[in-house]
């Protein structure tokens, strides 16, 4: 097993392709940082890149990007905006550090598959088999494998995000304390 997710075994979606260094401010620009509703954030997703993503994105679409996706500011709402669009996952050559953590923490599946990024085109359909750890571009024979995440990251993903992960740990701890108290 490569990528355990509580609810997801397979991902399939239509690709939106972006370049290198897509910064978090392009994903969710400054004027919208005051919004709290995920649906409203979604209306402005990728607006800083200057295309029609937010008006044309469909549920289960996949964002594909180059190096350093999500660089710049730590704004977690960039991840929430992507989730609000019901994007099924993000595949990039590499992720910026804080964006990576924010994605895992909010249950947004992310994958680093550089060779797939090089070979995929806008509009292609990509399928990911999480259980066996590979991705394919529809109509293309090649199989692109990807690395397992370290155990703690797998655990956070498996629980659906950091809040459910930490909640479970806190409840276990509370249960033990109650037991000892008796």
């Amino acid at each position: 097993m490569v990528f355990i997710h509580k609810k997801i075994i397979n991902i399939q979606g239509r690709v939106w392709k972006f370049g290198d260094d897509v910064n978090s401010g392009a994903i969710l620009p400054n004027p919208y940082l005051g919004l709290n509703d995920v649906k409203k954030l979604a209306e402005h997703c990728m607006e800083g890149v200057g295309n029609d993503f937010s008006s044309k994105v469909r549920s289960k679409d996949i964002i594909v990007a180059g190096e350093n996706f999500g660089c710049g500011s730590s704004r977690e709402k960039a991840v929430l905006a992507i989730l609000g669009c019901k994007v099924s996952c993000v595949i990039a050559k590499s992720f910026a550090r804080i964006f990576f953590r924010n994605a895992i923490n909010n249950g947004l599946p992310i994958f680093e598959i550089p060779i797939l990024v090089d070979n995929v085109k806008q509009g292609n359909v990509v399928k990911i088999d999480l259980f066996n750890g590979f991705a394919k571009i529809e109509g293309n024979e090649s199989v692109y494998s990807f690395e397992t995440y370290p155990e703690i990251i797998q655990s956070i993903i498996n629980k659906g995000g950091l809040i459910p992960f930490v909640s479970a740990k806190l409840l276990i701890k509370k249960g033990k304390e109650n037991k000892n108290g008796k």
Binding site: G48, G72, V166, S167, K174
Partner: protein
């Protein structure tokens, strides 16, 4: 084999005797801080957890600096929510109104950080504090909420990349120019997930203000954090601000660095980052034809007293070009007061600049000087991605404060050499 400063600090905070690069460990922290923009999400995430109280409220601080004094109703609501939460949790360390300043500057100024500390901040420029020899890292709001509840977070032990600076910089060349030059070489992702450690005779001769500037902008290389050796300059800075004991945790001479890159700085000119990447850096002589509409001195990168002093030195006796707006924002109330006492604010006003209260201001495109379509700014901030300071079709050039001042007078990007 010896340890890097980063490894020593992680060992201190993880309860293990030794660690290896790439290993994932859990660490405790000495301080965790957030601000008006990011804290509301951290608070709403915290409220989803099955615990009522933050594990250690004495380690928590809030700084209202991004969109304050409240720029609109949303911000006012954010601040109200944070204050209610702070009161509920017994958090006293909260700075707003006339006590507020830019978070990454307030913390060292108030003696809240010491060498060897491990610090979590809810902002990407938290590594600024590395100039004090602390390991300070930025996190998103959910990581902050979880750390409030558990007193810990997980980390992958990073590699350290050493940037060695040798030589004596020319006049008008400062820490800002050194880090911009390094960005040009290393690129926007060149230090990804690593800690950048600065060393060398050039660094040793820098003031603390300029060291903070360099650690601040190391983030733009993709770094996890940045750190500097604690020497007599740093200890001197700490002596008037910190009362508690601390242990210096500088890197051992035989520590294992992933890479070492040397920079000779003697011949450098002031550097300019052109739109739209902080690594798109050229010497100022390549920029002198570029007309500008707005000049900004401020932000957690360069709102220190040293920055205001040098800006005022260049500006004194001149007036700002009639087609240029200049905005100056001292980083903290203490800096503002010192600038007043030294006559710097008078110089800025007499020249025709706008002075703002201590806040991030226009840096993140929030308030106090947003750019319109096609406008161009030269600023002492740390990022120049499209739309950073306003309209997506505006442009930002990054520079040191003396260059920004000279540019304000001449109406185009200029070295202070042209004025003096």
């Amino acid at each position: 084999m010896g340890m890097t400063a980063t490894e020593k600090i992680i060992v201190k905070h993880c309860g293990k005797n030794s660690i290896s690069v790439g290993e994932i460990i859990e660490v405790t922290y000495d301080m965790i801080y957030s601000h008006d923009n990011a804290a509301p999400l951290a608070i709403s995430q915290f409220k989803k957890l099955p615990c009522n109280h933050i594990k250690d409220a004495s380690k928590v601080s809030f700084f209202f600096d991004h969109c304050t004094p409240n720029k609109d109703i949303d911000t006012a609501e954010h601040c109200r929510v944070i204050k209610e939460f702070a009161e509920n949790q017994g958090i006293e360390s909260l700075y707003e109104g006339g006590r507020a300043g830019i978070q990454h500057m307030m913390i060292p100024e108030l003696g809240m950080v010491t060498p060897g500390d491990l610090i979590m901040g809810n902002d990407s420029h938290t590594p600024t504090l590395g100039a004090i020899g602390a390991l300070a890292m930025g996190f998103g709001s959910t990581d902050i909420a979880a750390a409030w509840a558990t007193g810990k977070t997980w980390l992958r032990v990073p590699k350290t990349i050493k940037l060695l600076f040798e030589g004596i910089p020319r006049k008008w060349v400062s820490g800002k120019d050194l880090i911009l030059f390094a960005l040009r070489t290393i690129g926007i992702n060149g230090a990804a997930y690593m800690v950048v450690e600065f060393a060398g005779s050039t660094i040793a001769a820098l003031s603390m203000n300029q060291r903070f500037t360099m650690c601040n902008m190391a983030v733009e290389m993709g770094a996890k954090s940045a750190i500097m050796p604690v020497d007599s300059v740093a200890q001197d800075y700490l002596s008037s601000r910190v009362t508690k004991n601390y242990t210096i945790t500088n890197s051992d001479n035989d520590a294992d660095f992933a890479e070492e890159i040397k920079f000779k700085v003697d011949q450098l000119e002031p550097q300019i980052a052109f739109p739209h990447l902080p690594s798109n850096v050229k010497p100022v002589s390549k920029a002198s034809h570029i007309r500008i509409d707005q000049c900004f001195i401020g932000s957690c990168s360069n709102a220190w007293l040293d920055d205001l002093r040098i800006a005022a030195k260049v500006l004194k006796g001149h007036t700002i070009h009639p087609k240029v707006r200049m905005i100056v924002i001292p980083g903290t109330p203490q800096i503002y007061l010192k600038a007043l006492n030294e006559g710097l604010i008078k110089v800025f006003c007499a020249a025709g600049a706008v002075i703002g209260p201590p806040t991030c201001g226009p840096c993140g495109g929030n308030h106090f000087g947003i750019l319109g379509k096609g406008e161009r700014a030269i600023a002492t901030i740390n990022r120049n991605y499209p739309g950073r300071m306003g309209h997506p079709e505006s442009e930002i050039y990054l520079a040191n404060p003396s260059v920004v001042s000279a540019s304000a007078v001449l109406g185009r990007i200029a070295s202070p050499e042209e004025l003096m």
